[in-house]
């Protein structure tokens, strides 16, 4: 199927005073796309992410992921849906502090009752952190923790990978590493939804940028990717000496 995520006229209202509501949002995301969602804080972009992940329910409208209407699913079914189809990467990693890196990665599979130690180790290896699989999160750097989180997000081969400001808590170098990994995954076919406030990051990795302001989608830009020379995009003006 090519249309992976379909939102129809989705509205989410919170109690008065809490920002993040959405009103009348319709949106389609294709399989294999790398989409960035941008917007100021309180615009509703996190709410959008949570609705797509089935972590929250819309007040009205429908959310369908992989052909399944999330509105028809009960709490337990939604949990299973998240477990099987969604990979989540958060800004603050949210690893379970009492488990080693490897154990953290295995959790989503174990919730299904599956034993996938081999795949977990392979993922850690791919992400360059095989040597710390036995360590606890407190002993890992931010970049390492986020990569563990990515491995955890990928263990069940999710249909959709959701990243909410994944580099927000990382230094530039680690952040770049993480984003490069996302790009590689997308090249291999993973559909990715990236929430970020940083336009530089959004335009670097995603060809489609959705802008959310005050609960509405104000722009949905599919950017082009021609190969341009430097001189086409920058002009340095030089002042000549006075004679």
């Amino acid at each position: 199927m090519s249309q992976l995520v379909v939102l129809k006229d989705v509205t989410k209202v919170y109690q008065a005073g809490i920002t993040g509501a959405l009103s009348g949002v319709s949106l389609t995301i294709e399989n294999g796309e790398f989409t960035a969602i941008m917007g100021p804080s309180g615009s509703g972009k996190s709410t959008l992410l949570n609705l797509i992940a089935g972590v929250d329910r819309p007040t009205s409208g429908s959310v369908a992921v992989g052909g399944a209407d999330l509105g028809t699913l009960g709490e337990t079914a939604l949990a299973r849906f998240r477990r099987d189809h969604i990979g989540f990467v958060f800004q603050f990693f949210y690893l379970l502090p009492n488990l080693t890196a490897l154990e953290n990665v295995l959790i989503p599979a174990q919730l299904k009752g599956k034993v996938v130690a081999g795949r977990a180790e392979a993922l850690l290896d791919e992400l360059g952190i095989a040597d710390v699989s036995d360590r606890y999160p407190a002993r890992l750097s931010g970049g390492q923790q986020q990569r563990v989180a990515m491995a955890r997000a990928l263990i069940n081969r999710p249909t959709l990978l959701l990243a909410d400001e994944p580099t927000g808590a990382l230094d530039t170098h680690s952040g770049d590493q993480v984003l490069e990994l996302l790009r590689e995954l997308n090249r291999d076919g993973q559909t990715i939804l990236l929430v970020t406030h940083d336009a530089k990051i959004a335009t670097r990795y995603a060809a489609r940028i959705i802008s959310v302001v005050d609960g509405k989608i104000v722009d949905d830009a599919r950017l082009e990717s021609p190969d341009r020379a430097a001189s086409e995009v920058i002009r340095v003006r030089v002042a000549e000496m006075s004679s």
Partner: protein, 774 residues
């Protein structure tokens, strides 16, 4: 300083649930502690006060009816008594009131006062006519007789009727139960009430200062030497009376103190747990407080105050509550002895209890609070959540090795992630389960002892006979009934054993007494004349061993006896001085001693009620016939108190578990939200929390059950020892294995129930809010 108070109060208002937990646990602990302390401090006093006020008799001796009263009057100077009462003429009587038969000792006495053994009139007046009688207040309470009503004396042929003129309190009374009562009539009225050969004399002696047990024994020996052999038929001294009075209280107090200590430890564990939890959940706040400018001491004070305020409020209710609760117990023990009851408590004691409770709570809160004070602000703000320990790793490995599903494995790991908190919670569970085991065990033991003593089971009908009806007449009646299978006749008398000053109450059985079901811990039951069994206490005090022969004296004649077994019995009172033997041993010497009680066993399938009615109808005046079922026990109150306290401590344990789960859930809100986002269903989340609870309960319970059983044995040994007995092995097992396992599983189940609320809270976590609110 005001900043500290303002912060502490605002925290109090926010953390309402924890305030309630602290209040309730402190309240329970303080109430039981105060109750125990009050009882402990008061017990000895009422008796001493009453004894001195009523000039009680240090020594009371009964003499054979043939002794010369003149000689008796000279005995006080022989033993150096400063004051004496008597000689009083006395006789055992049996009388009837409202369809019930009672036995008492009637004493001829013309005035209630005197130098020794003053009787305090509490209702009516002293008898003035020969047809009047005064009874003790305890008897009046137990039988519901009041002044002005009449009693029919059935132990003499012409059955005189006596009117109750007044009620008195007798400090020298040995036991307040129905079986050992005395009543008073005019000296001129005694003859009419005395059955042939039944009269005897009674002397009360009082010394200038309280004599020791040795001095009392010497006094009795002096009397024995000075009078014709066989003159002394019995003696009681005030030490014995006091110790009997104290027995029940001492058992009760001992148990109460033990349980209060349990409750206190549980409170400490719960409070420490609570404060540690509060501190951890407030880590970020602490950092901010210190950054604003709170000194470490002030930070610690904020936490201590939060705990002290509800604890102090709990003391305000708990200490008066505990004092008030102790009064009925004090009253019942005083009443049991017919002593006047004064409401006694000491304000000083209450203040000590208050100070002690607050001190303990403060100390329990202080350690974690001080740790909070010492934390560095930068570290703390950066590390919003405290780093958790690794100790769960091998447990998790074990659990997943056992093939448990992942949510359960995570739950188990969660339970031990903070070792200190897990330990404190397990301690609370341990205490709760152990006290339940002990309370149930002791209650069972008490419930077992009475039927054992009353021979419920082996004996279907118990018949009490008055002296008027002869033994052969009674036996003929029994044998005339077709259902009668077996009759064992019991006669009680006194026998003097070498080495023991007071004559020993002895039970003589005629018939198949072995079938009565007494437990013999060493040796065997007696087979024929000359053989005796006795409780351990008598062996110890008389320096006897199984197999020994000794020369006892009965009514002046010597009787050689051989000790063949150690019997488990409480009728010998504290010290366990009693003998059991076959009547044939002394039959030649006592033609006039008739059995007073018959234990009848019916053929299988007989209708007991019909039998009882028939026999009672045949001899309404001379026999009291009852079906042998066990009734409420005297120690019922002790059981009730035990169970109540055990329930209290168990409740505290549940509170402790609940509190731990709540803390874990709150702290782990982020992890729970993460797991929910990763795809853990609500049911799995609840299972995770429930497993945490079940694990802690299991650990605490598995340790508590054997510990509780052991402590129960210890307590039973105490109770047996008071009766001068060693506990027979078969008595130990109060609770069957399946019952113990059931208690353990019940504890786990309750813990899992307690987990439901935190579990549902976890399952309902709003992932969005939690994960975004950083």
């Amino acid at each position: 300083m005001s900043a500290v108070i303002v912060k502490a109060m605002s925290d109090l208002r926010r953390r309402r649930l924890q305030v309630v937990v602290i209040f309730v646990t402190t309240l329970l602990a303080v109430a039981t502690g105060t109750m125990a302390l009050t009882l402990l401090s008061q017990t000895n006093d009422p008796f001493q006060i009453a004894f001195a006020a009523q000039r009680g008799a240090h020594l009371r001796v009964t003499f054979d009816g043939r002794t010369d009263p003149g000689t008796l009057a000279g005995t006080p100077s022989l033993v150096g008594a400063a004051a004496f009462g008597g000689p009083y003429r006395a006789t055992p009587i049996q009388f009837q009131y409202r369809g019930h038969k009672y036995a008492a000792a009637a004493v001829g006495r013309d005035e209630p006062g005197g130098e020794v053994g003053q009787l305090v009139l509490v209702a009516g007046r002293w008898p003035v006519g020969d047809d009047e009688i005064a009874v003790t207040r305890s008897f009046a309470d137990l039988s519901h007789v009041s002044v002005g009503e009449t009693l029919k004396v059935v132990s003499v042929a012409d059955a005189p009727v006596l009117t109750v003129a007044g009620e008195v309190i007798d400090i020298d009374q040995v036991r307040a139960d129905i079986s050992a009562q005395r009543a008073w009539v005019r000296t001129s009225a005694i003859d009419r009430l005395t059955a042939t050969g039944g009269g005897y004399y009674l002397m009360n002696y009082r010394f200038a200062s309280d004599p020791t047990s040795a001095q009392l024994s010497t006094a009795v020996e002096t009397l024995r030497a000075a009078l014709p052999p066989g003159s002394i038929t019995g003696s009681i001294n005030y030490l014995l009376v006091r110790s009997i009075f104290n027995v029940v209280n001492q058992v009760l107090i001992g148990i109460l103190v033990a349980f209060s200590i349990f409750a206190l430890v549980a409170t400490v564990a719960i409070v420490a747990n609570l404060v540690t939890g509060i501190v951890i959940s407030a880590y970020r706040e602490i950092g901010i407080m210190k950054a604003i400018g709170f000194t470490p001491l002030q930070v610690a004070l904020v936490f201590v105050l939060q705990i002290l305020v509800p604890a102090a409020a709990a003391c305000l209710f708990g200490i008066p509550g505990g004092t008030i609760l102790s009064q009925p117990l004090l009253a019942s023990s005083s009443d049991a002895l017919g002593l006047p009851y004064h409401a006694t408590f000491s304000v000083l004691l209450d203040l000590v209890a208050l100070g002690g409770a607050l001190l303990i709570v403060t100390l329990a809160a202080l350690l974690p609070a001080l740790r909070a004070g010492r934390l560095k602000p930068a570290v703390v703000i950066a590390n919003a959540a405290a780093p958790r320990g690794r100790s769960g790793r091998w447990i998790r490995r074990l659990a997943s090795g056992l093939g448990l599903p992942r949510p359960l494995v995570l739950g188990v790991g969660d339970a031990v992630a903070r070792p200190l908190r897990a330990t404190l919670t397990a301690v609370a569970v341990f205490l709760g389960v152990a006290t339940i085991v002990i309370a149930l065990g002791e209650t069972r033991h008490f419930a077992d002892i009475y039927p054992y003593e009353a021979h419920v089971g082996p004996v279907d009908v118990v018949v009490s006979k008055s002296a008027v009806l002869t033994d052969p007449e009674a036996m003929r009646l029994f044998e005339a009934q077709p259902e009668t299978e077996r009759v064992v006749a019991e006669t009680i008398t006194n026998i003097v054993v070498p080495g023991i000053a007071d004559p020993i109450p002895s039970v003589m059985y005629r018939g198949d007494s072995a079938a009565l079901g007494y437990l013999v811990t060493t040796g065997r039951w007696f087979n024929g004349p000359g053989e005796v069994v006795a409780p351990k206490g008598l062996l110890r005090d008389a320096h006897l061993q199984v197999g020994d022969t000794f020369i006892a004296s009965f009514r002046g004649t010597t009787v050689p006896l051989r000790l063949v077994g150690v019997v488990y019995d409480f009728a010998g009172g504290p010290g366990g001085h009693e003998l059991m033997l076959d009547s044939s041993t002394v039959v030649p010497a006592l033609a006039d001693l008739s059995p007073s009680t018959y234990f009848v066993t019916l053929k299988a399938g007989s209708n007991v009620a019909l039998y009882v009615d028939r026999v009672a109808a045949a001899q309404p005046d001379q026999l009291e016939v009852q079906a042998n079922t066990s009734g409420p026990t005297q120690l019922g109150m002790v059981s009730a108190v035990l169970l109540a306290i055990a329930a209290v401590i168990a409740l505290m344990a549940v509170g402790g578990v609940f509190n731990t789960l709540l803390l874990n859930a709150r702290e782990g809100a982020r992890d729970i939200a993460t797991l929910k986002a990763l795809g853990m269903s609500p049911r799995q989340l609840i299972a995770m929390v429930a497993t945490s609870a079940a694990f802690l309960a299991l650990v605490g319970g598995v340790l508590a059950v054997p510990a509780g059983v052991q402590l129960d044995h210890v307590l039973l040994d105490l109770v047996s020892a008071f009766g001068g007995n060693d506990t027979p092995p078969s008595f130990y097992a109060a609770l069957a294995s399946w019952e113990l396992i059931a208690i353990l599983l019940a504890g786990v189940a309750v813990a899992m129930l307690a987990a439901l609320i935190p579990g549902r809270w976890a399952a309902r976590t709003n992932v969005v809010e939690v994960l975004r609110a950083e």
